[in-house]
Amino acid sequence: MRTLLLNRISIVWVLLILATALSWQFGHGLGFGDAYQYATSAILVITFVKVRFVFLDFMEVRRAPLPLRVAFEAWAVVACGVLIFLYWSGL
């Protein structure tokens, strides 16, 4: 049971929870003061880093055939970029 829990999957889960806490703090003024547009950009980047870890370690895309991995990584990068671009276009 212990070896079952102490594996990469569990480490990724802990990191995901920590990343959630960090983006929560960014959303409440940590580190960026009143520069909320940078805080939001940071939140989006953290979000898609989380997404990438869900892809790679939970969905096991890390070990999947290369084209699939490329497709998922590209989706994360493009989606993150488009959302940040659209966000800034409204400021």
């Binding site: 079952l4 829990l5 929560w24 939001t40 493009v78 488009v82 959302l83 409204g90």
Partner: protein, 195 residues
Amino acid sequence: MSSTTKLSPAAESHLPGEAGVWMFIIGDMLMFSLLFSVFVYYRADDVALFASSQQALNQTYGLFNTILMLTSSWFVALAIHAQRHQLAHLTTRFLIGAVLCGLGFIVVKVFEYGEKFAADLTIVTNDFFMYYYLLTGIHLLHVVIGIIVLLYLCTVSRGPELSQGDVNMLESGASFWHMVDMLWIVLFALLYLMR
């Protein structure tokens, strides 16, 4: 097949589940990336309205649901891990844990919707709430379907000896559930945190 991949995990690439499921997942992700983009696009049109409406959301519900979703996904990943290491009895237990987290997610969502309705914030209130209900509603539909899939996987995983088809089924369903988790991660940032 599964025993050989277990012995040499890094040696060869392995597609969990079956290819058709991945096609569905990618298709669904494309649909959601359009929904996300449309939300941020219209938000950019009327930042003041979106920002002030967002204040009416209870972020704690969002955070709580994110933790439930991440934990549920973790249970599913552990279930697959246990199955590969010949611990099938744990597989079923982990899957039940994931189902409970998923049900918890729905309960929180029901409370959240109820609170919004009580405050007279509905799908026709304004653009922000329209997207709030649409995005969370379409996601909730995925959660419900995902829970049905997970319950089905519970019955599959209880069998004494899992066939290759059963393993495929487990991995396919797990991948779908992780996608539902991933979509919520993005929705949480867009609806609750973004300022």
